[in-house]
Symmetry: C2
Subunit: 326 residues, 2 copies
């Protein structure tokens, strides 16, 4: 039970989700003392919550390889094992991303035909979302991997949003045919020829925010940088606006009203409401929460894991991968 705030943020988020999702049951995996301390200020219904106490902790700077070999009683590993053993429908963690990636791959295994899983998350755009993958599970990707990300992303977004043919784009530095690396050009051609995908071609950076595609594929280095840069820029612009408003007496006086007027915009773009990156391509549901997630953000990630398991994402992706035309 990781993340910057641990059980004292996670327990109230679980309480909130249990109230919202009547069919949800939760197994809390982590340190007994920390869990019991958090439960003192926020009780949970005992018929829908169970506990698995663990003794080891994965730290932020533990290397993935060392996590894999040691720390067999860390909460992250135990939670993934519960998914493998059919005792949980999905696993959610706010801990070390690299560790989650290697443990999930090792304990659950990947789907047939999938070499590496990919993280997918939603960028809020135009009242809906543009899903982006990979977000950092793979720093360098082969053309095969990028192609499989497109298939997985398309299936997942279709299942999650009900859109039967999500528009799939390939993140690139131009829309002309000769733009991008050799690898990107190769993937573009394969996606273009794949009749099962609604491939809309190359999407440039700004296209992510111009509603040009429902799913956009890129390698994990680019995806991670773009996602974090977007968060950083949105935060920064908000701060700049607040400073400008504070400097003008009349407008500052109107600030509460102004805040109410732009509240819908802020809510639509609040990273907290879009927290939770699905690790696609595994034989089970694994979702990663932002490490710095607060209660509301953690609740959003629980809901994401719940929806992914309800939609049976791993099975749906496996079916599509097995279909002969790919």
């Amino acid at each position: 039970m990781g993340g910057d705030f641990g059980p004292r943020c996670i327990v109230p988020a679980v309480a909130r989700c249990l109230a919202r999702l009547p069919q949800l049951n939760v197994i809390l995996v982590g340190d007994q003392a920390a869990l019991e301390s958090a439960l003192r200020s926020c009780s949970l219904p005992s018929d829908r919550v169970s506990f698995r106490y663990t003794s080891e902790v994965i730290l932020a700077d533990d290397s993935p390889a060392s996590v894999l070999r040691r720390k067999t009683d860390a909460s992250m590993r135990v939670a993934i094992e519960l998914v493998r053993d059919g005792q949980a429908a999905g696993c959610l963690s706010a801990g070390n991303t690299g560790a989650l990636m290697v443990l999930a791959r090792s304990v659950l295994g990947t789907l047939p035909g999938i070499d590496r899983p990919a993280f997918m998350a939603a960028l809020p755009v135009a009242g809906k979302a543009c899903y982006l993958l990979d977000l950092g599970a793979n720093v360098d990707c082969t053309a095969d991997q990028l192609f499989s990300f497109a298939v997985m992303g398309s299936v997942a977004v279709s299942e999650l949003t009900g859109n039967p043919a999500p528009r799939v784009g390939l993140l690139n530095i131009g829309t002309e045919l000769h733009k991008g690396s050799q690898r990107v050009r190769e993937v573009a051609e394969r996606l273009h020829n794949c009749k099962q995908l609604n491939f809309v071609g190359s999407v440039e950076g700004d296209g992510l925010f111009r509603d040009q595609a429902d799913v956009v594929v890129c390698d994990g280095f680019v995806g991670n940088v773009v996602l974090k840069a977007s968060e950083g820029l949105a935060d920064y612009l908000q701060l700049e606006m607040r400073r400008a408003v504070d400097q003008h007496p009349l407008i500052r006086w109107l600030a509460p009203l102004l805040r109410r007027v732009i509240a819908p915009v802020r809510e639509r773009h609040d990273p907290a409401l879009h927290n939770g990156a699905s690790l696609l391509g595994l034989q089970g549901v694994v979702v990663k929460s932002h490490g710095a997630a607060g209660e509301q953000a953690f609740a959003a990630a629980i809901e994401r894991a719940w929806l992914a398991s309800q939609a049976g994402l791993p099975q749906r992706i496996a079916e599509r991968l097995a279909s002969s035309a790919l």
Copy 2:
């Protein structure tokens, strides 16, 4: 004389810069009829402006290789030749980026020790700028190239801003030592050991907007995507805010005042004012304007080219590269 709007936008931008910069002289290179047409509605002082008429046009989808072999009388090539021949102190173009890159490299040549030039531009942050390079000249970079980008960026920012030791960061997907690709880790180690650079370590995407560095180095694919995504997100958020304001009667009535209050924020972040990417590493000054630049944006790019030539950027970079410690 390229770009989406050609001479009818460029000529007024030149007039504006001639008024602002008393020592500036301009050679306009392009199609005679188009230039004469633009000069009918905006005259320029004949003692400070001369003309070179050209007969060929480089199109947006001409491949760089074909531009290099054919089109010897295109304005872009002729303008770069003027720099090579010492008749111009710098070249500014709003045309095909790939063509500009290969022509500049072929006609001017790179500085000793530089394999590939890199585009550098400014992201407006915290009332100053975070300079980012490369922005698309090189889709895949070696560790050597990334290292040379850091040296060139540091010298350029030092000359342009007067900061003797700009903070240099390496764009990465985490700040821990084991994060990033093998290549990024290798560059990080070399930068760390280079005493002539003020290397501050890895910078994540959000760090670009948190004033963590003055110069940030990355490969051209990532840089291009991040720059365009930032522009797209800023545009999109502005549109969302405007819509929200329009929906509330009182706030809509106050919109003119509100616009005046946030004008300084908008101006500080107006991409038009930060137009112009310097192509560093060449034996001469070459600046690329956004293709869709309007008059104000084009004027900003002219000023950037002027400042780069006044600072003698190519010479300053060559001196640093030649210094033994690198």
